[in-house]
């Protein structure tokens, strides 16, 4: 049993944890939920020894545990999979798993290590080849490697920080299965998430955090999603996003016959055609790895297509560089948050990234108007802490995402490429961003691994499969089954 007793931790003047007390029973799956910046990651970092609490204690099996470093945590059987994986890209899976292990001194018994890894993968359903290199693996597979690493070290308390945020629906299902198997074999799992459906799918117990405090620890069966949502944000849930008038009928973006090679050299897009109307939200659904990434890169000018055309409001912008597209009114929320921000910059500096030209006169930055605008955005998007001079790297994951979204919407772009726009956002912030996307002030190309999000927001849904759009649905005709079938490529009525 892990017990947190009145844990407090401040960073400068912000209290990140402000008296957290709850306990986690052995062998349960314990979900920790709460708003962005509520202090979830901080609490887990303390438990894993990445930072020290200012006051309060952690008790493990009734005894106070002094955890000064991850090493101590590992020795006590605690393992953690962080949001950003700590893997050596050039090494193989097996090498990564045994890297830095206790007991490994000079020579590594590879055969025995491989056998153990294989054994672990089998019993927990974590299929990866031990000889594969990390750089060739998908995000989901990398996460499995991280899990194996933790298991290999013999952890029986496992922390997962927003593990599902980066996964496809299929991978999420597989992860749940793994988590359940772990529970069966007696391991305790603590996981952080913003998706309430997940909580009810796997968790036994739920702890809600708000403003650095633990406000409730409840058994999952005693709660409804509605009630949980209210606990999280401390008031009633906002109504789901309103949809304004119908989209226009002019074309904002037309893609014709795009052929693009992917980052592994193979064909990623094989003659993709698509059109996005003015003020429309077009959802792109598809299993990851079917060309979504390359599609976005081409649209943002980061990858040159081999053939085909891209028309932006009737203008051919096929091979134009990113800055030109941006000046044509295109904005982009990147899939990976760190591609959309500079961690070492302040919040204020990040809020003008890409718009620095608009905020300067004769090459000199207009600091005052930058500050004014930053203050407005911080208010509007509820970015916490409310300090525009805070370092971006010190923000919680969700707040970083808010900064990126706020900035991309700041200049009222005519067209927005939104790739996983609500990744890491809490329910309140998600609802807020959804509302923004539906404002009908701009065309939105929405790429999301979250089918619920796509279904909720899109006017039309295009299904991408093997580098082509294989099916389009209107909002009123789509069913989950048809969509799922099309995503697997099993649809005969392909477009054209």
């Amino acid at each position: 049993m892990i017990e947190f007793r009145n844990i407090c931790k401040r960073f400068g003047s912000t209290p990140a944890n402000d008296g957290v007390s709850f306990s986690i029973k052995d062998g349960e799956i314990h979900a920790v939920v709460g708003e962005n910046g509520a202090g979830k990651t901080t609490l887990m970092s303390i438990l894993y020894g990445l930072c020290r609490q200012d006051s309060g204690a952690i008790l493990i099996d009734g005894r106070e545990a002094r955890i000064h470093s991850p090493r101590d945590a590992i020795a006590m059987g605690i393992g953690m999979v962080q949001q950003h994986f700590a893997l050596v890209k050039r090494f193989t899976v097996a090498e990564n798993i045994i890297l830095g292990q206790e007991g490994v001194r000079f020579c590594i018994n590879r055969r025995r290590a491989n056998e153990r890894i294989a054994g672990l993968s089998r019993s927990f359903g974590l299929s990866v080849s031990p000889e594969a290199r990390i750089e060739d693996l998908s995000v989901g597979e990398q996460q499995r490697v991280e899990l194996l690493k933790v298991l290999y070290r013999g952890a029986d308390m496992i922390i997962l920080d927003e593990p599902t945020a980066v996964l496809t629906p299929q991978e999420i299902e597989a992860l749940y299965a793994t988590m359940e198997r772990m529970r069966e074999s007696g391991k305790t799992i603590i996981f952080i998430t913003h998706k309430l459906r997940e909580v009810f799918r796997v968790a036994d117990t739920i702890t809600v955090m708000r403003n650095g405090r633990s406000v409730a620890t409840v058994a999952a069966e005693d709660l409804t999603p509605q009630r949980l949502g209210e606990l999280i944000i401390g008031r009633e849930l906002p109504a789901s996003a309103e949809r304004g008038c119908e989209p226009g009928c002019g074309d904002a973006l037309v893609l014709e016959n795009l052929v693009v090679s992917g980052h592994r050299g193979d064909r990623a897009l094989r003659g993709l055609s698509l059109s996005l109307r003015e003020n429309e939200v077009l959802g792109i659904a598809g299993v990851e790895g079917n060309g979504q990434r390359e599609l976005v890169e081409v649209l943002c000018g980061l990858r040159k297509p081999e053939s085909g055309t891209v028309l932006l409001f009737g203008r051919d912008v096929t091979r134009e560089p990113p800055w030109l597209l941006r000046s044509e009114g295109m904005a982009h929320i990147p899939e990976e948050r760190r591609n959309g921000m500079v961690t070492e910059f302040t919040v204020c500096e990040n809020l003008v990234l890409g718009y620095q030209t608009d905020f300067s006169r004769a090459g000199v930055l207009r600091l005052n108007s930058i500050r004014e605008r930053a203050l407005e955005l911080v208010k509007e998007y509820d970015i916490r802490p409310e300090d525009i001079n805070a370092g971006m790297g010190d923000l919680s994951g969700g707040n970083q995402q808010k900064v990126v979204v706020a900035r991309e919407l700041m200049k009222d772009p005519r067209i927005l490429i939104a790739n996983q726009p609500t990744r890491g956002l809490d329910i309140g912030a998600t609802a807020f961003v959804h509302q923004k996307l539906l404002e009908r002030k701009r065309s939105v190309l929405l790429i999301s691994s979250d089918l619920d999000e796509i279904l909720e927001l899109s006017d039309r849904i295009a299904v991408i499969f093997e580098g082509r759009i294989v099916r389009e649905f209107r909002r009123d005709e789509v069913t989950l089954e048809a969509l799922g079938l099309a995503m697997m490529g099993g649809d005969d009525h392909a477009v054209e």
């Binding site: 990113p322 800055w323 961690t343 500096e349 930055l365």
Partner: protein, 337 residues
Amino acid sequence: MTTRSNRKILAPFVSLLIAFIIGGVVIALIGKNPVEAYVAIFRGAFTDWGFTLFQATSLIFSALAVAIAFHCGLFNIGANGQLMMGALAAAYVSLRFAGLPGVILLPTVVFAAICVGALWGFVPGALKATRGTNEVVVTIMMNYIAISVVSYALTYSMKDPASWIAQSAMLPESLWLPSITLGADPMIVVAVIMSVLSYVFLWRTRMGYELRAVGFNQMASSYAGIKVRRAIALTMCISGAIAALSYYNYLFAYQYRAVSDVIVGTNVGFDAITAALLARNNPLLVIVSSLFLAALYSGGLTAQFELGVPSSFYLFLEGVIIFSVVMFSTVLGGKDD
């Protein structure tokens, strides 16, 4: 908790202190009195503050070059070569157009130095931007090329026929700056202005902003539409242009001619890396760190002939400083527990 930021500020001082202690032990080991040696260094630096300022001037220019490049994520090891080429260009143009009146000659000479220095930075910058070539390797190569070009020019085409040393003729008197022995040399003022300008450039201009963004995160910068390649090439140009002024005072306030051995053998571009490191690449702090290193160097000369502390002591101390700065900035400033 303010400990973290306090520690960051403290780190250079602690590492300097440790470097001095290690230096003192070494002085004691070679049989000299460390206290006397440090007193001599101190006295030497301040009795001849003209030279301290002179040395600091060269260091400031080069250290700014290193620091600015660093903000764009580039390690400019080539300040030495850029400095040499700048000096050569200044000497050449001043001799070639010696007849022009000073008011016209001065800007021409400075412009020539800046352009050639910028070119010397542009080559590694452009290679990095277009081919991804490691700028460290290329700038080192450019240093060697600069050595060859300078010694070739001063040995053949620009050599003073009256001398058998590889050196140019006396530079035109219209450009001579008041000598350093009078105490101050106007270039120190220019250096300080340049530091302030660099600061403003990095934190107050659009280009500086873009350059720093590229330095921290190239991916995010290109997503944001910043012209990453242009920023890299441009940064190296600016870096080279500033480095090119490092030896201007040597030419026009000190030796009044370009001596091949001295230019080719200079170490300022490398000392500048230490200065930039100590200043954490902050252009304003570069003034302080350069003054500090210059004082150490200048004082070291006095300690040398007064006490017989070997001249290599300065280089040794510099090495220890780099080492301890790197060590202690990670230990003290890195993580908070």
